[in-house]
C-alpha cells in the first residue's frame, strides 16, 4: 500500500469513529436523562420506559456503527490500496 494512502486511511478511520460518536453520545445522554426523569416521576412505568429506552439506544448506536463500518472498510478493504 502506498504510505500516503495508508496514513490518510488511518486518519480517516479514526476521524470517522470519533466524529460519528459525538452526535449519538449527546442523543443517548438526552434519552437516558429523560428516561430517568420519567421513572422518577412515574416509578410504576419503569418496565415500559426501560424497554423503549433500550430500543431507542440501539437506534442511536447504529449511527456510530455506520462510522465504524466506514472505518473498517478503510482499514481492511480499502478501495484505493
Amino acid at each position: 500500500m502506498d504510505p500516503l494512502v495508508a496514513a490518510a486511511s488511518v486518519i480517516a478511520a479514526s476521524l470517522a469513529i470519533g466524529l460519528a460518536a459525538i452526535g449519538p453520545g449527546i442523543g443517548q445522554g438526552n434519552a437516558a436523562g429523560q428516561a430517568v426523569e420519567g421513572i422518577a416521576r412515574q416509578p410504576e412505568a419503569e418496565g415500559k420506559i426501560r424497554g423503549t429506552l433500550l430500543l431507542t439506544l440501539a437506534f442511536m448506536e447504529s449511527l456510530t456503527i455506520y462510522g465504524l463500518v466506514i472505518a473498517l472498510v478503510l482499514l481492511f478493504a480499502n478501495p484505493f490500496a
Binding site: 430500543l55 440501539a58 456503527i65 455506520y66 465504524l68 473498517l72
Partner: protein, 251 residues
Amino acid sequence: MLNFLSAVSSLPLAKIEVGHHLYWQLGNLKIHGQVFLTSWFVIGLLVIASLAATRNIRRIPAGIQNFMEYALEFIRDLAKNQIGEKDYRPWVPFIGTLFLFIFVSNWSGALIPWKLIRLPEGELAAPTNDINTTVALALLTSLAYFYAGFSKRGLGYFKKYIEPTPILLPIAILEDFTKPLSLSFRLFGNILADELVVTVLVLLVPLFVPLPIMALGLFTSAIQALVFATLAAAYIHEAMAGHGDEGHEEH
C-alpha cells in the same frame, strides 16, 4: 496492517481478519462457504427445534413446546404492536423468521466455539457478520413492504410518493434505498464490531477479562435481532397504512 499481532497467532484464537473467506466456485459465482455452513447450521437448529416442539403437542405444554410457545407469543406481540390488531396475522411468519434467524445466528457466533473446526481458509463465525447475509435480509424486507403496500392499497400505494407535496418526490424515492441500506449496515456493523472487540481483548488478555464484553455482546446481538424485526414490522405497517389517511392506532 496488524502484523505485530502475528506473534500471538500460535495460540488457538480467532484471528483478526475481515474479508478472508472460504470461496466455493458455483458455476460463475464465487460464494462464501463459511457463511453457508453456519447458515445451514442455524437453519437446521431452528427446523429441528420446531419439529421437536410440534411432534406431540399436548394441551398443557411442557419442555420445548412450552419454550417455543413462549417464543411464538413474543413474536406475535411484536408484530401486533407494530402492525396493529387488524392485519398483523399474515406477517407473523415473516417477522418471526427474521427475528429467529438473526437471533440464533448472532448467538451462535458468540456461543459456539467455531474455532475448533479448521477451515482451509477463512473461519466460521456468525452468518450475520458477512454483509451479504444482512443485505439479503434487508432486501427481503424491502420486497415485503412493497408487497404489503401494493396488495393492500393497489396502485394507490404509489400515491405516497407525492402525497403531501410532489416536491418531496426525490426524498420519498431516496427513502426506499436508505431503508435497506441502514437495516443491513446496522446489523452487520454491530455484529462485526462485537466480534472484533472481543477478538482484540482476547489478544490482549486471554483470560476472564473479555467475559463482561462477551456478555455485552450477547445483549446487543439480541437487541439487534429485536430491532431488525421491529423495524421490518414498522415498515410493513407504514406501507399498509399510508400517510395518516386511515388514522394510526395508538401503540
